[in-house]
């Protein structure tokens, strides 16, 4: 049983519908670029203002965890791209397995992140009343860095969690034969979303973890 493109009534044809979905998703991703962009902008300003303070914080960043997470997300992007490809050629089983793999890798990412957050909490590096920084001269500015760290990775993690939810939805839909080579748009679109969240991390990692490791 092949699933047919589900043509919504207000579209003239499937091509118009697909073009609309694609443009719509890219516009949404552009909004996400601007959303994260505000935090990248704040980070840039404060890093150029307080280079030593920011560099000093990198000693307390878990580079191994960060690098591992970067690898995990890159793997998940590969599996996601392969999943979209599987949908495109109608390979339902491969699609489902690749989606499950992507989902698993996403959860690994979140697990490692959770471990890192716990580490930070124990080290008193969470901004707020319990904040305490080892190098007193940089404490004030380091607190701003940690604030941005939690804001940026936190918002990123929320996007990952949403992505995980979307993947679960795709897996359920795929196992119910909703997709075929003729129509797999949600897989394609959610793939775009997933890759975007990966790209955000690709920039977050060097900015937050790799400053001043030579010192």
């Amino acid at each position: 049983m092949i699933a047919q493109p589900e043509l919504k009534h207000h579209f003239d044809d499937a091509g118009q519908q697909l073009e609309s979905s694609t443009l719509g998703m890219w516009i949404f991703l552009a909004t996400e670029i601007m959303f994260f962009g505000g935090m990248f902008c704040s980070y840039t300003i404060y890093r150029s203002a307080f280079p030593e303070a920011f560099a000093s914080t990198s000693h307390f960043m878990n580079v191994t965890a960060g690098a591992l997470n970067t690898g995990v997300l890159i793997c998940s992007s590969l599996t996601m791209a392969l999943a979209v490809r599987a949908a495109q050629i109608g390979q339902k089983k491969a699609l489902i397995w690749l989606l499950i793999l992507t989902l698993t890798l996403g959860c690994v990412f979140l697990g490692i992140k959770g471990m890192e957050y716990h580490e930070k909490w124990v080290e008193h590096h969470v901004p707020g009343p319990s904040f305490h920084y080892e190098e007193a001269q940089y404490a004030q500015n380091a607190e701003i860095l940690f604030f941005l760290y939690f804001a940026m990775t936190g918002v990123h993690a929320v996007h990952m969690i949403v992505g995980v939810g979307l993947l679960i939805t795709l897996i359920i839909m795929a196992s119910r034969n909703r997709f075929s080579a003729a129509w797999y748009t949600p897989v394609d679109m959610i793939g775009l979303y997933w890759h975007f969240v990966d790209i955000v991390w690709i920039f977050l990692f060097p900015l937050l973890y790799l400053i001043g490791h030579t010192k």
Binding site: L18, L29, G37, A49, Q88, L207
Partner: protein, 102 residues
């Protein structure tokens, strides 16, 4: 069909490039290059991001309109960064006005 089927080896090739670049960026961060550490790290990040956009997100095969939308998104972020930075960078050009120095 939105785009022709891409061979698996293309995806795997991009994946390996991304992993290699990640290892590189971590390795380079341990070498003292002064100002250039940041530039190298950002250049590598841009290359990695571009690979994901171009291949994984199929922008290579997308319509010109899609490419324009993608470019516009990053360009707008550029506007924010450049113009905000222009304020902070040029504050030191007058005797008064730099808030983070005394």
């Amino acid at each position: 069909m939105s785009h022709p089927v891409v061979a698996i080896k293309v995806y795997v090739g991009v994946f390996l490039a991304l992993i290699t670049l990640t290892v590189t960026t971590v390795a380079v961060s341990k070498i003292e290059l002064g100002e250039y550490n940041f530039i190298v790290a950002m250049t590598i990040a841009v290359i990695k991001g571009s690979l994901v956009v171009w291949f994984f997100m199929h922008v290579k095969q997308a319509s010109s309109m899609t490419k324009l939308f993608v470019a516009a998104g990053f360009f707008w972020l550029g506007i924010m960064l450049v113009f905000v930075l222009s304020d902070y960078v040029s504050r030191g050009w007058l005797p008064r006005g730099v808030w983070w120095h005394s």
